[in-house]
């Protein structure tokens, strides 16, 4: 009558065994790949950080990672704690502190623009920036890497901390092209305002957070 036509079905235990077997083979493969590439990946990451830091702090030869928290600064081990800001301390061959590098990020035209800036502890100013990652329009937004006039803004960008050590004495500001008057202002690139503003805002945000925590403890930095 209404008997359903018998369909050939595989017993579930066979399915489970097969999938278990395949999953185990795959697991072994992944672990093997992870174990064998881990060192090379860690090494690559270190080289990448060093290269970026050396670019914004000329003359540096050694980099260590630190974290600044409201209770002081310490070498970074593991993850960055809540309220902490990660930064890199760069030293020259002789072990003299060359400067601090930290990351800044601002929302650009397409995506976050992430830059690394170099901070000189003597003049309390930013002495160079390098782009870590961005997806800005080629030919427009990427002028922040190539435009010499724009990069001059970062020869000595004033980021002094105020007397109470609570914030920057003067917030870093992006101003319209050709109207820069103070050392803490960034002259925007005409035609790439969104990207320049992203860089300015990112640096301001990062410096406001990091420098008040860092400046009172700079003397503690040793290679």
């Amino acid at each position: 009558m209404n008997e359903p036509t018998p369909v050939h079905t595989t017993p579930s235990n066979k399915m489970i065994v097969t999938m278990g077997l395949v999953a185990s083979i795959c697991g072994v493969l992944i672990v093997a790949a992870y174990e064998s590439t881990q060192d090379a990946i860690a090494n690559n990451k270190r080289i990448m950080v060093e290269r970026a830091v050396f670019k914004v702090l000329p003359g540096a030869a050694k980099v260590s990672e630190y974290v600044a928290t409201p209770s002081g600064i310490q070498a970074l081990t593991g993850n960055v704690p809540d309220g902490g800001v990660k930064f890199y301390a760069a030293y020259d061959q002789a072990g003299v502190l060359k400067g601090i590098a930290a990351e800044a990020a601002g929302k650009g035209y397409a995506d976050m623009v992430r830059v690394l800036y170099g901070y000189d502890t003597q003049c309390q100013c930013i002495i160079g920036i390098g782009v870590v990652s961005m997806r800005e329009t080629p030919g427009i937004g990427d002028k922040i890497i190539t435009d010499k006039e724009f990069l001059k803004n970062f020869d000595a960008l004033d980021v002094r901390v105020n007397a109470e050590m609570s914030a920057l004495a003067n917030a870093v500001k992006v101003v319209k092209h050709g109207t820069k008057q103070n050392a803490w202002e960034i002259d925007a690139i005409a035609g790439a305002t969104v990207t320049t503003k992203a860089v300015g805002r990112g640096i301001n945000e990062s410096a406001q957070k990091l420098l008040p925590l860092l400046v009172p403890h700079v003397a503690e930095l040793k290679p």
Binding site: T18, M19, P138
Partner: protein
Amino acid sequence: MSLKKEPDEGITFDTFMEGVWRQNPVFVMVLGMCPTLAVTVSAVNAVSMGVATLFVLVSSCLLVSLIRNLVPKEVRIATYIVIIATFVTLVDYIIQAVSLSLYEALGAFIQLIVVNCIILGRAEAHASKNPPLKAVINAMGMGIGFTIGLLALGATREILGAGKLFGFSLFGEHFQPWVVMVLPPGGFFVLGGWLLLFSFMRSRSEKGAAHE
């Protein structure tokens, strides 16, 4: 190569050439368009993506073909996805170990190889029904065809959009790059151009065959 040694398995030159020419994934089947359009801003990126896909394609087709008689048909797609995902993870680690800047340039598209329909399509349509050697040769053809497709797009876009090829400047200082070609719309323009060329050549050869 081994093509002549095992004629019993039905491996012909076409097993390999199918993916390179007749069924080229980019120009004929128009598959895997997501990475094709997204990562082909330079020839280096295009070739790296092609090679990564080739590796995943060949390894997963080999494994799928080896276990083709063990896998119950009810769970075959799940099994293939696990296998493909494994090799994508491998590729992910390997690219990170080789070059982090390449890894950042390719971005999420390495992980997205998992859902590349060329690979699942090959596993389901070919590797699950054929012996390992034949599956591998066919997968190689497909992968090389895909790489050629990506390279064709990547090289065109890099030459027009940046005036370079594999990072070397071609036209000197005064070349004004056609920037739109390295932007997303340029991907569509160049792909359209190549597809036009291919269908023109196909219709010519079909006409030629009809006349004979």
